[in-house]
């Protein structure tokens, strides 16, 4: 599947709740055809996962899903998506992940039959290849267990398969704190893209075999790390914005291999993918403050087809357990979006534009989330000849846009940041047009010992 033009041809048509390629689910609903639904995530409280605690682990997941579904019914949610993000031991022992998947799927089925609660289950194994440094991406026991995990979870009742894959991260992590644009582009534009090709080809095959939906990937390990670091004042926000843009192409690769969405909640590159591929996306923002703070609290919901809390531990708040609190908040947020949608396009667009105005001018990471900018950057991507060139022209375009925004005073930014816009522009100039040159030069860089070229199919 190649995308040589934008599936959503008009910035005005990029909006929450509507995607050109909606997805149908067996428990009675469709994503992307006119409504936004909550996607609830949850994880274990502070505890060890091993044989001795396994019974307790299962009980916790049973309790969570029961409570969450009850609340969803009480609040008449039109449909509910549940994400089960495996924890590392659950992928290392694929049976464990599958067992929890089975528990969740059974409960969703029960609530569908008993109360008509429409639902879908997204299952996200861990990219455990990241366990070794330098990581083995295509060989070794981790790779085997990871794919086994996908296989067993698909069997056990998953409706959607996703992953937060980490190809290229071993280089990117260090490149990021060095603010080394060349290494960042190498990691995202070459290593990551190659890995996505390899990885998603296999995931799609598994998904087809068990006839579940190959959802999508996320640049969490790259761009969300950057977002969190920027929020902590450790790296420039401008850099975080650039990293987000540079990560679009590697996430897009999943769709080139046959993924169909819904995109993963923490993939803030989602809107760019939605405009290119037309697939529905999951997003998160103020709703996921429990998982990480952000400067995209409202603007991130402007294009969401699913609205998520990313993750929260199962701990007791004053009212009840945290996952139930999250699902209630998600449901109420979705109600507003759905009422605006129901009122017609003008109202929906109005609401979308409020979400955008709310955040766009306060942070470069939010600024690039405006429809016309998403449109312009996405256009550059579909026009480029190779993934590497896509990254180059998307980043180039973004640096231009930000520079212009600053000179126009359209964007709040402090001096410490300003200095970095120039440095990044300088670095960008030095990027070779031919990726071969970059690949060679990296062999002699400080990053050389971090990655294994053959694991990415390059010499």
């Amino acid at each position: 599947m190649t995308f040589d033009k934008l599936t959503i041809a008009e910035p005005g048509d990029l909006i929450f709740g509507r995607a050109p390629k909606p997805l149908k689910f067996r428990r009675g609903f469709e994503i992307g055809s006119g409504q936004v639904f909550p996607e609830i995530n949850f994880t274990l409280p502070q505890m060890i996962i091993d044989e001795s605690s396994w019974q307790e682990v299962k009980q916790i997941y049973k309790d969570i899903i029961e409570e969450v579904c009850k609340r969803a019914v009480d609040l008449y949610t039109p449909a509910l998506v549940v994400e089960f993000e495996l924890l590392p031991p659950m992928t290392m022992n694929p049976d464990w992940g599958a067992e929890i998947t089975g528990i969740l799927a059974a409960k969703l089925e029960e609530f569908y039959k008993k109360y008509g609660l429409k639902s879908a289950l997204r299952v996200t194994p861990v990219d455990i290849r990241d366990n070794d440094r330098p990581p083995l991406m295509r060989s070794g026991i981790m790779v085997g267990n990871m794919f086994k995990s996908f296989e067993l979870c698909a069997q056990a009742g998953a409706d959607i398969l996703s992953i937060e894959s980490t190809g290229g991260k071993e280089v990117h992590d260090e490149a990021l704190v060095n603010a080394d644009l060349q290494a960042i582009v190498f990691a995202l534009g070459i290593l990551a893209v190659n890995d996505m090709q390899f990885l998603w080809d296999k995931i799609v095959t598994i998904a087809d075999r068990y006839n579940v939906i190959p959802g999508g990937d996320t640049a969490c390990g790259f761009a969300n790390t950057a977002m969190v670091l920027a929020d902590k004042g450790m790296i420039p926000r401008t850099l975080a914005a650039v990293v987000r843009i540079a990560s679009i192409v590697r996430s897009l690769q999943a769709y080139r291999q046959g993924a169909v969405g819904p995109g993963k909640d923490c993939a803030y590159e989602g809107p760019f993918i939605k405009i290119i591929t037309g697939t529905p996306i999951s997003m998160e923002g103020k709703s996921s403050a429990c998982a990480h703070l952000s400067c995209l609290g409202n603007i991130s919901s402007a294009y969401a087809d699913l609205w998520s809390n990313e993750s929260v531990q199962n701990i007791k708040l004053l009212s009840t357990y945290a996952p139930v609190v999250s699902v209630e908040q998600l449901i109420y947020d979705c109600r507003l979006m759905n009422i605006a949608l129901k009122e017609g396009n003008a109202s929906a667009i109005k609401y979308r534009d409020w979400m955008i105005k709310s955040d766009a001018f306060l942070d470069p990471q939010a600024y690039i989330f405006q429809p016309d900018i998403i449109f312009a950057v996405a256009q550059k991507i579909v026009d480029a000849a190779s993934p590497y060139k896509m990254v180059l022209s998307a980043v180039g375009e973004t640096l231009k846009i930000l520079d212009h925004a600053i000179s126009e005073n359209a964007l709040k930014i402090n001096d410490t940041e300003l200095r970095w816009i120039d440095i990044l522009a300088m670095q960008f100039e030095t990027l070779p047009a031919d990726e071969g040159i970059l690949i060679d030069s990296m062999k002699y860089s400080q990053y050389a010992d971090k990655y294994l070229p053959e694991e990415y199919g390059i010499q």
Partner: protein
Amino acid sequence: MSIIDDIKESVIRGHIDVNSKYPPDLKDKPGVKDLVQKAINDQIDVSQILRQGLIAGMEMVGKKFSDGEYFVPDMLLSAQAMKGGVQLLEPLLKGEDTKKLGIVIIGTVRGDMHDIGKNLVGMMLEGGGFRVIDLGINTPPEKFIEKAREHPDAVIGMSALLTTTMENMRSSIKALRDNGLQNKVMIGGAATSQKFADEIKADGFTRDAAQSVQLVKKLLGIAA
């Protein structure tokens, strides 16, 4: 402005040498290496070059970071520049000048692959004058024990970001103690807190890398 001040200034700006293009505005101007070499040639007391030039500069950098004027990459540039200078001085320095403040052994505990935070801590500590032994990610208790044996005076820093790996800090600390190792242990990572540190009998905790230098000094009795 004396050459010592120039050295200090170029450390603060992170300008390594005349060939390095950062920061843009200092391009083609002499950098730390060049200035240090000149100072040596001018017979200036090496430990003065080190203390009032390089170290003083790096201290300013740390301050700028805490004040939000610098980012981590700014710090790294300065650190690199400083290293360049130190390398030139090393052969000429007397023992006590090169001596490190102490050793810190850091690692992300078993089952956890998050290490960016840990790496930043390591970086800060090196900048702060400590020798850092990084055990990487997914570190089993045995590895902490082994290194702790080799360096009984070292402070051990454990990192964990997952609610499901925090408990491995508890077991790692217990393993150390069960093996009769008394190294001071500090912990950190998004999911941890002072409360948790107290609970698992860690000797120290900080919420961010910046404070970790102070913490280590405190644990080693270098500072209050």
